[in-house]
C-alpha cells in the first residue's frame, strides 16, 4: 500500500471499520437476547421472608431443645415446590426462646438433638454442637444459625428469610 498521511483513512480501512462496527451492532442485537434468555432465571431475586408461628411458647419445655417442622411453598419457573424446614426451639426463660436451624453449618446435613449426649450431632462428618448452638468438635466452621424471634400474645414466631 502506498504511504499516505496518517490522518487519512484508506478505503480499505474505512470498509473494515464500517464492517466491524456494523458487525458488532448485529452481534449485540443477536447476542444480548440470547444471554438474557439463558441467564435471566438465575438473576431473578427469589427472596422470601415471613414471620412463621411456632405455636404457644408455653408448649415448649424450658431448657430442652424441641424440634419443630414447617413447610414453605416456592415457585420455580413453571413449578411449585414445597420444601420442609426443621428448627430446634430452646426456651431459655419464661418468655424467651432461641430458635436454631437444624442445617449443619459445615455442608448442610441435618443435625439432631441427642438427649443422651446433651449435644446436637451431625451424622455426616461427626460435627457436634452444644445446647446453645456453639461448635464443640468436628468440622463445622461456625455455630448453628439462629432465627430472629418474637413473642406475640404468648405465641412464638420466627423471622424466616431465604434467598
Amino acid at each position: 500500500m502506498a504511504k499516505r498521511a496518517r490522518y487519512r483513512l484508506s478505503r480499505r480501512e474505512f470498509v473494515n471499520l464500517v464492517v466491524g462496527a456494523l458487525g458488532s451492532i448485529m452481534g449485540a442485537v443477536v447476542g444480548i437476547p440470547i444471554i438474557g434468555y439463558l441467564v435471566s432465571p438465575a438473576l431473578k431475586a427469589q427472596k422470601s421472608e415471613a414471620w412463621i408461628p411456632l405455636g404457644p411458647l408455653e408448649n415448649y419445655p424450658i431448657d430442652v431443645p424441641t424440634p419443630f417442622n414447617f413447610t414453605r411453598t416456592k415457585v420455580h419457573g413453571w413449578e411449585r415446590t414445597v420444601s420442609s424446614y426443621g428448627v430446634y426451639v430452646l426456651r431459655t426463660a419464661e418468655d424467651q426462646a432461641k430458635v436454631f436451624s437444624n442445617v449443619c453449618t459445615h455442608l448442610s446435613c441435618r443435625v439432631k438433638w441427642r438427649e443422651d449426649l446433651g449435644q446436637y450431632a451431625c451424622p455426616c462428618h461427626d460435627g457436634f454442637f452444644d445446647k446453645n448452638g456453639d461448635v464443640i468438635s468436628g468440622p463445622p466452621p461456625r455455630p448453628l444459625d439462629q432465627y430472629e424471634t418474637k413473642v406475640e400474645d404468648g405465641n412464638l414466631l420466627i423471622h424466616f428469610v431465604e434467598g
Binding site: 437476547p33 440470547i34 434468555y37 435471566s40 432465571p41 419457573g77 413453571w78 413449578e79
Partner: protein, 219 residues
C-alpha cells in the same frame, strides 16, 4: 501471525478449496426466484437455533408443557422473542419450501441430471410438514390438543391400516402424555436428524451439479 495460523490450518483442512468449490462456483445468470432455497436454509438454521433455546425451558409433559410455555413467554427475558421467531419461522418455512418447489417445477429445474436433487427435496418438504404437525401439539393448549386430535383422526381414515396408523401416532387410543412425548421426540430428534442428513445430500448435489439456468425459448 493470523496469516501463519490460517495457512497452517488451510494446508491441513483445505479451507480455500472448500471455499472456492462451494462459494466461488460458477452459476448461470438467474433471478431472485433462485434465492428461495438459500432463504429456506436460513430459516432452517434459525429454527434449529431457536428450537435449541426453547428446550432449555420447555417440558414435554401434560402437567408442565403449558405452564413451561407460559413461563417462556412471561418469565424469561426475551423468551417471547425466541418463541416468536420459532413460531413465525415455522410458518414461513413451509411457505418458502413450497415456493422453492414451485420455482423448481415451473422452471423445469428438476429434470436430468437433477432428479435426485428434486427427490431429496420432496423428502425435505414432507419432513418440514412433519415438523409443523409435531410442533403444533407441543404448547399443549386447547388448539394444539384438538388440532392433533383431528390430524391424527385424518390419518385414521386410511383404508384398512388407518386405525393402526392412528394408534401408532397417538401411542394409544387417545391423545395423552404418550402422544406428547413421542411428538416431542420426533420434533426434536427424529425429523431434524432426517432433515439435516437430507439437506446435506441436497446441498452436495447443488454444489456438485450446479443449478440450472433460466429456461430459454429453445428449451
Amino acid at each position: 501471525m493470523t496469516e501463519k495460523v490460517l495457512s497452517w490450518l488451510d494446508e491441513r483442512l483445505g479451507l480455500t478449496t472448500i471455499y472456492s468449490v462451494v462459494l466461488d462456483r460458477k452459476v448461470p445468470k438467474v433471478n431472485w426466484w433462485y434465492t428461495l432455497g438459500s432463504a429456506t436454509l436460513f430459516l432452517l438454521i434459525m429454527q434449529i437455533l431457536t428450537g435449541i433455546f426453547l428446550t432449555v425451558y420447555y417440558v414435554p409433559s401434560p402437567d408442565h408443557a403449558y405452564d413451561s410455555v407460559q413461563y417462556i413467554m412471561t418469565g424469561v427475558s426475551f423468551g417471547w422473542l425466541i418463541r416468536g421467531i420459532h413460531h413465525w419461522g415455522a410458518s414461513l418455512m413451509v411457505v418458502f419450501v413450497v415456493l422453492h418447489m414451485l420455482r423448481t417445477f415451473y422452471l423445469g429445474a428438476y429434470k436430468y441430471p437433477r432428479e435426485l436433487t428434486w427427490f431429496t427435496g420432496v423428502i425435505l418438504l414432507l419432513a418440514t410438514l412433519g415438523m409443523g404437525f409435531t410442533g403444533y401439539l407441543l404448547p399443549w393448549n386447547q388448539r394444539a390438543y384438538w388440532a392433533t386430535t383431528v390430524g391424527t383422526s385424518i390419518a385414521g381414515t386410511v383404508p384398512v391400516i388407518g386405525p393402526l396408523i392412528m394408534r401408532v401416532l397417538r401411542g394409544g387410543t387417545d391423545l395423552s402424555a404418550v402422544t406428547l412425548a413421542r411428538f416431542f421426540a420426533m420434533h426434536i430428534w427424529g425429523l431434524p436428524a432426517i432433515i439435516l442428513a437430507v439437506v446435506g445430500i441436497h446441498l452436495y448435489l447443488v454444489v456438485r451439479i450446479g443449478i440450472s439456468s433460466v429456461p430459454t425459448e429453445e428449451d
